[in-house]
Amino acid sequence: MTLETVIEGLVALTIVIGAIFTLVGSYGLVKLDTPMPRLHAPTKAGTLGVGAMLIASILFHFATDGGSLHELLIMAFLFVTAPISAHFVAKVHIHREHTAQELPDPPLDNVWATRDVAPDEDMAGDQVPEPSGGR
């Protein structure tokens, strides 16, 4: 069992791990039946999925052509941006799906920022109809 074989095995393993997490993320996206829980599946599983594959890539290139680390940059970008994406999708859910009663009151302050709108602009209910894909 040479170093190559070990690395190869590690590469294969990380690839498989990444693949599974990727799949789980999307599976959860379909499986979960309410909007907010759905948000968890891909943002969590997705980052590690790609992360594992990027690690596989780093390992692979170290084994084959002198190595590379720039995959780390991709990882960094994903880790930095994923929370913002999730934050915005959550805001959309709060804005479009949840009535104020469902949310806990914010401690210390009056209202959650997304729902902080002037009364006359709050025209909830007058929303664009959405196409339903068959549900």
Partner: protein
């Protein structure tokens, strides 16, 4: 005088460092030429973008920050496994999703952002909103029978450390 010039040239030394690292990663190699060019860019770009950095954030404490990063990375791995297990094996009806309101001791936007990001990346939680004065964070938990425990853990594990690092 020298320090003044240094502050003029490197208004955000950490940023310059970050940019040099980014540049080396982009080039995917470490040579003198790369570092020199990276330094040039790392100097010029902060100057060009200085207008977008109206106030200078307080420099974090590097060691504590490193510790924090490692904790978070570990938590991310754990979180992924946990979430994967929930997604795969728990029936939708059995899940206990809930909203958690977290009062904040942090005041600096940078720290709050990192906290919110951490929450999203770690176990079964997503930071969804802030309150209208910025004193609380709204977090959604995927499966949390006890919301208060979630709140306490976040404040203990992350917010406390961030307060030390940034404030």
């Amino acid at each position: 005088m020298v320090s003044h010039l240094f502050r003029r040239l490197f208004p955000h030394p950490l940023l310059t460092l970050l940019l040099v690292i980014v540049w080396c990663l982009l080039i995917n190699g470490l040579s003198l030429g790369t570092v020199v060019f990276g330094l040039i860019l790392g100097t010029v770009i902060p100057i060009v973008t200085a207008a977008y950095w109206p106030d200078r954030p307080r420099a974090p404490r590097p060691l504590l920050l490193a510790e924090y990063v490692l904790i978070v990375l570990w938590d991310i791995i754990v979180a992924n496994v946990v979430v994967a297990a929930i997604v795969l094996f728990k029936r939708n009806a059995d899940m206990r999703p809930c909203w958690v309101a977290i009062p904040l001791d942090l005041r600096s936007p940078e720290a709050i952002t990192i906290l919110a990001g951490t929450i999203t990346l770690t176990p079964g939680t997503v930071s969804a909103d802030v309150s209208d004065k910025g004193h609380a964070l709204l977090v959604h938990a995927l499966d949390a029978p006890d919301p208060d425990a979630v709140r306490d853990e976040i404040k203990q594990r992350y917010e406390r450390r961030l307060k030390e690092i940034f404030e």
